[in-house]
Symmetry: C2
């Protein structure tokens, strides 16, 4: 690791803060049409800044939505090629009155940079950019080929990204991807996230009579769709919290003893969790710890259900239909389509007579997992140790990030999530901020990673 | 039965039709404030018409809502006193374009009188009035004392009636009440309805975390209130359709073999019912017929339930709460408050840990039943036979009519429901109508009833 790279980052601390502040001033809220010109301005700002970093090829591509900014540096087939993804759009800011500083007037207080987008994701995207710049501007030899993929629609569902990736496969193919859009485990624990759960969605409708019926005239003779829906939902889990659907767990990747030991060693504070959520106790599969259950075990949750009269007061009816939305979180080696088929078959088998059941199958995305033995994971661990003076913790996350699935499915590129935000930095909420210490440490860690990668590759 | 009474009714057929038409022209829609003056006009029309019928005492009483019209004829303590209830308000008329004739321009087509209120209930109320008038105007001796109670808020819940009845007990007390606000069993089957089910209402809420949670981050560790609500609802019935709540059936009045035979003899057409409702089969307690189940067995129905995200698309959350509205229909000798307590205790006993359950108990009204041996029932049967040439069918109804409970609770007055509408005459719907043949036959039957009552009393 050339000292010149770190020295370059140190020397430009003030400049980088000024530049990041400039970037954060642009209110690039993708959800609001009135801010579309700001989204475009942020893309233009990025293109210009990437060019100054020394990338010979930078393009702004129209997608039908916000532009995608794509950049390349290095074409050496003997070096690893890394794909860096980030997003330059931000969440809306309401309620505005809850902000202590205007969301687009970045303000530093006690080493915390307050602004919408500070940690999610402009600050972390910029951190990636300066780590690459430090290499390009100082080293005679950059150890990797860089591919930058920055989008402007992450906060509204990345609607145009999968198609863009499919159409630009040759520009994007790399040995692995690094995304800095997540937090560390806690203030003391820089984290490498190597796995995300997948998602399988379905919607069910139980329909009975043509219309809502008078419960006095018909009650006792007609199947009530609300009762049937409740019955069906109740059959989906057993009393121990396991999903009671045959074949639901088919193929589930069992946790290895060593991974279980790793997760068990994490400083998970159940008491704090309970207090944060406002519940008295946790539930779920008793043979697994809470972190195992959220990160490495599949689940099935009703996200919404409704039937009949839901207003003020009373309406004595037998509802004519009842509906529910359900999503499953999946773990590696579960086939999302098989899971959906299994749930559908279960529901059909458990539906009593007298009603009609329809099941609509929706999105089905697999889990993603980068093996802990992957060279990029080992390199990231070394880089973290070098900068933070501590070993990273290895985590998964229970959610799903669509771009990671697309990179895995379309480009066959594994991803590690290497973020330096903190869990309480108010992403999507008022008073979003970013610890500047972690911004600089993160940039150094990423710079160190590129040196390590070339040794571990 | 003096022939002069029937003769009087026959002689005034045209007059009565003209008068009823006049009454029906008044758009006394209680639900719409813009029609309040019409509600008042209908009350005034009634007061004037009752006076002309020969009632020496007629009052229009303010209630805070629509006026109540009260009238008395006869004070002989040796005669039976009958309380006649009806309502002069009507339902709204939308969708107006679905009417083949304007709803407040009464039109006769093929002996059917089309107008809003024709059968529910102005036509039947007027039928009651002319039956009394025929006696008063022709007979030297009227066989009963009449008490008329006509309200103008039935279609909006009779909000002021219970208080009015409590405050006017002495004016209203009678040996029994007769209400003509229901249909015959079918075109061939004049009916005496002697029982109604009661009602017990509750609302339940299952609450979990402070707010909706990300199902990826927390799924697998936090009790999902929608799952818990579904479980609770599913425990309320067993697989055979019985309510599975301990003590729910306590005190239930078992049907006698003779009443079961009576109900079994009714021309109930299950195939037609299924077709009308759009369901493939009936469900419920298999030891009872459909009519027994709806008329004489208690039930528990979810009228509405809701939880989480119910809009278009998807939101991957664990909902923070789940709610349901439930009503039970009760039969004689069930205590409504005990039923509510039993359901509440059942829910509390079956609620798993990790959530908070709250149960709000609402309205609790008992069932009403007039014994088939009651003299008024026997008198009504004779009257029907005399006019229709056929025996009546004896029916109950599965719904609840609040005024009947009030009459039973406050005045200790039993009620028979003796209506002459037909089930398909579109009460509450466009093209409401009333068969004029049944209007005249109904008036004669009621006139005959008063003679019979004095013999059976």
């Amino acid at each position: 690791m050339p000292e010149t790279v770190f020295a370059y980052l140190e020397a430009h601390r003030e400049t980088y803060l000024q530049e990041l502040t400039e970037f954060l001033r642009i209110p690039s809220i993708s959800a609001l049409a009135a801010h579309h010109k700001d989204v475009l301005a942020a893309a233009d700002w990025l293109v210009e800044r990437i060019r100054r970093a020394g990338f010979p090829s930078v393009t702004r591509s129209e997608t039908g939505g916000s532009p995608v900014v794509l950049a390349r540096y290095g074409e050496d087939p003997h070096k690893p090629t890394v794909l860096i993804y980030g997003h330059y759009d931000v969440q809306p800011v309401d309620p505005l009155e809850a902000w202590h500083h205007p969301p687009f007037s970045p303000t530093v207080v006690n080493d915390l940079l307050y602004a919408r987008g500070a940690s999610d994701d402009k600050g972390q995207l910029f951190m990636q950019l300066i780590a690459a710049e430090a290499w390009i501007q100082t080293a005679g030899e950059v150890p990797v080929n860089f591919r930058l993929l920055f989008e402007g629609e992450e906060e509204i569902g990345s609607g145009h990204l999968e198609r863009f990736i499919k159409e630009h496969q040759e520009d994007l193919r790399g040995d692995f991807a690094v995304i800095s859009d997540t937090p560390m485990f806690d203030h003391e624990s820089p984290a490498i996230c190597y796995g995300l759960r997948g998602l399988a969605a379905l919607q069910i409708q139980v329909s009975g009579p043509f219309q809502d019926l008078h419960s006095g005239v018909y009650g006792g003779t007609v199947a009530n769709p609300a009762h049937v829906l409740a019955h069906l939902i109740d059959t989906l889990h057993d009393d121990t919290g396991r999903v009671a659907v045959a074949h639901f767990y088919d193929g589930v990747d069992e946790l290895s003893p060593s991974e279980r030991r790793t997760l068990a060693a994490l400083p998970f504070d159940e008491t704090q969790w309970l207090a944060d959520l406002g519940v008295e106790r946790l539930v779920g599969e008793q043979d697994f710890t809470p972190l195992e259950r959220t990160w490495a075990r599949p689940t099935l949750e009703v996200n919404g259900m409704w039937s009949g009269f839901i207003g003020e007061g009373r309406k004595t009816i037998i509802p004519h239909r009842a509906d529910a939305k359900i999503t499953c979180r999946l773990v590696p080696h579960q086939d999302p389509h098989n899971v959906l088929s299994a749930v559908k078959a279960h529901l059909e088998a458990h539906c009593p007579p007298g009603v009609h059941l329809s099941v609509d199958l929706g999105e089905a995305s697999p889990a993603t997992l980068t093996p802990l033995q992957h060279p990029a994971v080992r390199a990231a661990a070394q880089a973290i140790k070098q900068v933070f003076g501590t070993d990273p913790v290895y985590i998964r996350m229970g959610g799903s990030i669509p771009v990671v699935v697309t990179l895995q499915d379309v480009l066959k590129t594994p991803t590690i999530l290497l973020g330096f935000a903190l869990p309480n930095e108010n992403f999507h909420a008022p008073n979003e901020h970013f610890h500047l210490a972690n911004f600089y440490r993160g940039a150094k860690t990423l710079a160190a990673l590129w040196a390590e990668v070339s040794q571990h590759g």
